[in-house]
Symmetry: C2
Subunit: 250 residues, 2 copies
């Protein structure tokens, strides 16, 4: 039976402190839970409604965690959604593994992207553009924050990430580092092989001055109107699209 | 003196019903208020803190509305922000004016973009890419919703829009209509003069089937990974970027 202590445990995972302490996180809703169950994350608990079971019987059956059939009311009381007639899954946080970006590969580095919605949206964008590795500065939002995972729309299960101090990483890397600045070379006139790191900065401050020396090419999204800037997730998408376009793979 | 009834009036404008009834709306924060004061919107009330006045003395002086110096606490109690040590301005809603998209011009049409954050972000994107006209279906979020205006980061003052039934508008227009679909011609291989309408659809349902007959070219953002879709604002930005790139204006 699904006990009070288990629900309390799950609820505590809304806070980073407890996620770290328990080495666990949760995801909610049909999209994120089905993606989690099809990934290599270790599922600890699966709470599902009859509706979820009838729509995804195989996923419920093959899940190796403790399984509980429950109600929407319990899912809403435990998770962060205001409605959820599907499921909630608790999984083990993966151990930190150093990223290695290979020659010919494109990766992202995020400097102080603090808003969880922006980080989640960028994860989804990375997955759309086939970018599988993300360096995150220590000041970025927590990858396992429910708002990040929700905004990622399941893509959290298909990217690798590492929280790092960006200075040593960018200074050591032997690939080009493209930094998004308001004054740089137009991304429309850049013509290179799409490999290296695309570095984007904080929502309001942009890229930290300390990282500028490691940027091999400043790039800019050309403006045709009068808005002062673009949101960081929007800018990331436009940059990724331009880089992939250069690769001529479409 | 700033009376209770005025504050109650302003607060009521958080609701669409009262915005329509009073033919007025408000904006908050330094960015949106300064943009409003520099636009042709008629300002009715300007509530500002000493900080705002010291940073923007000319704008306060030249504002033709009723002006009140007040505190952050009053701004927070009246508006929708959790902190606002700058200003709040109430302005007159502009009368509906039919849009006319000219030959050689690029415009946007939004079909059921219901999320205010998405609509506001799209307004900011339009302004970045020099797109000044937006057709909005009746089911879109309200342009004057505080969440829309806030997400637009001041760009609300630089676009024209009209709420319309999209069928008759798109069927009558003599310019190409480019519709964003998951199955269409890759936007990377399209090579046309950037003119006409870019049509984007609802967050989860996409473009209404009833509008498909009026789409002259279905376009798609090529995917290089495994995410199922992109957020509608992200997709709009990538499409606008590709259209402007085709124009070779950068």
């Amino acid at each position: 039976m699904l006990g009070k202590n288990t629900l309390k445990f799950i609820k505590s995972l809304q806070q980073k402190k407890f996620r770290k302490q328990e080495n666990a996180f949760f995801v909610e809703g049909a999209k994120n839970v089905t993606e989690l169950l099809q990934s290599d994350f270790e599922c600890i608990y699966l709470l599902y409604t009859p509706r979820f079971k009838s729509e995804y019987p195989d996923l419920v059956r093959s899940c190796g965690g403790q399984k509980y059939e429950t109600t929407e009311a319990v899912l809403v009381a435990t998770g962060s959604f205001s409605s959820n007639d599907y499921a909630l899954a608790v999984a083990r946080i993966k151990p930190d593994a150093p990223l290695q970006v290979e020659k010919g590969e494109l990766a992202l580095a995020l400097d102080e992207v603090r808003d969880p919605g922006n980080l989640g949206t960028i994860i989804r964008i990375a997955d759309w553009y086939g970018i599988r590795k993300l360096y995150l500065s220590q000041q970025c939002a927590d990858f396992y924050n429910p708002k990040v995972l929700n905004a990622s729309m399941g893509s959290f299960s298909r990217v690798s990430f590492q929280y790092v101090s960006l200075e040593p990483v960018l200074s050591a890397i032997e690939l080009p580092v493209y930094g998004a600045f308001l004054e740089g070379k137009s991304i429309h006139s850049l013509d290179i092989e799409p490999e290296g790191i695309i570095l984007v900065g904080n929502e309001s401050k942009g890229i930290s001055p300390g990282l500028e020396p490691f940027v091999s090419q400043k790039v800019t999204i050309p403006s045709f109107g009068r808005a002062e800037s673009l949101n960081v997730a929007i800018a990331t998408a436009v940059l990724c699209d331009n880089f992939r376009r250069m690769g001529g793979l479409s």
